[in-house]
Symmetry: C2
Subunit: 214 residues, 2 copies
DNA sequence: ACCCATTGTGTACGATGTTCACATTTGGAG
DNA sequence: CTCCAAATGTGAACATCGTACACAATGGGT
């Protein structure tokens, strides 16, 4: 059953109308299942019901398409992190709230890595310079990229007096390193296939370490 | 100048004699320059002066070849970490020595990631289960894998009284997460292209965090 | 109403992974 | 020593992929 997968068999308009988006969407689905290497130009065009070359009207390269998909995956990550923060129970304790929001950043990050490993890998697949990932293409519903979400959470820790101001500079890289590293170990490192509850525990332990060591 | 690269143009014996090794070696060179995706079966056989299919007598798949190359890269990493430890100045203070050996594990890891990003990426490219990476194919000259080197360094910390025994279990994953994450950020994350001295500083900061938070 | 920039098509080329049938060599068993 | 079977390398072939080039259809601005 290799050939019949013509999901969007045909269209009657010569113009597609929204091909660029359709290609990114198809690429996202491919990435979701097989990671960055699975986002294949011809497969995406097939899914969009279009000749392979049509893609070149919207992307100079397969790499350009992959980059767009990567940005979209990054936006998914941002939304997952935001969602994790919105599930937080309300508190009157400002310090506790800041701390909870900080931890939610890491927890959401790890949850996304676990639930959507293909998209996670794609998001971080040679993503240009992630610092200039201020690109709104990588942002969530609040308009912030994952990196910026982490930054504001750290600022919150400082405001709440939980993080000395002189430790603030560069703290995002310490926190990010630890959480991202754990994500890698969970996805295709030695911790792959760990029981979900153990995964959650491991995540909390890493975040504990960050809070102590930051 | 695409076609002339026939480095090992011919051989006069029908049998190659050591093809499996030659392919892994060629694969290592490809990986060094272009990461895992650059280890191309046909390129490796070309380099070995052999028909493409000959590879299938030694590897079931391109993936099997890639896996072997990955293991070899992991061994390189182990040797770099060992080398970092041997450059340590001798000390009579046992605790200081244990601490230095622990930090050298992380420093060597990061140095390898920086100096050989292609090999580093290849070493961690879907490396089967790294836990059962007790495989001697991934070991350095001391016969220990990177994971095992980290473990013994942590044991050293416990023996020296620098790490409470109840914090020892699972500590390798905390330390590994942080260092590995930083390596990723340095190689193709936001910290790519950072000035080498800054890179070193960032590494020391992360290791500081680990020591405080472990 | 007519251009022409935009967008999609068809055909084609080189490279890659992989398979199948065949050739050459080597190491033992007789 | 001979000879045969297992091991190892070769050749031709196929499907798929990224990509380039020439061409066709469309539709908005003058």
């Amino acid at each position: 059953m290799t050939a019949v997968g013509n999901n969007k068999p045909k269209r009657e308009t010569y113009r597609h109308g929204d091909l660029r988006n359709a290609l990114v969407e198809a690429g996202l689905e491919l990435a979701r299942q097989g990671g960055p290497t699975a986002v294949v130009l011809r497969a995406a065009t097939r899914q969009a019901g279009v000749a392979p070359n049509a893609a070149y009207r919207h992307f100079t390269d397969r790499n350009a398409l992959l980059h767009a998909v990567s940005q979209a995956a990054m936006a998914h990550l941002a939304r997952t992190m935001e969602a994790e923060q919105t599930t937080l129970p309300p508190t009157t304790d400002a310090a506790a709230a800041a701390r909870a929001r900080f931890r939610a950043v890491g927890t959401g990050y790890l949850r996304f890595a676990q639930e959507e490993p293909g998209l996670f890998r794609t998001a971080f697949h040679v993503p240009g310079d992630m610092t200039h990932a201020a690109a709104d293409t990588a942002a969530g519903t609040t308009g912030k990229t994952p990196f910026e979400l982490l930054g504001t959470a750290l600022d919150g820790l400082v405001e709440a007096g939980l993080l000395p101001e002189d430790r603030r500079p560069g703290a995002e890289f310490l926190a990010w390193s630890a959480v991202h590293g754990l994500a890698c170990l969970l996805i295709d490192g030695p911790l792959r296939g760990l029981h979900p509850t153990r995964v959650h525990d491991a995540g909390q332990h890493v975040i504990d370490m960050i809070e102590r060591g930051i």
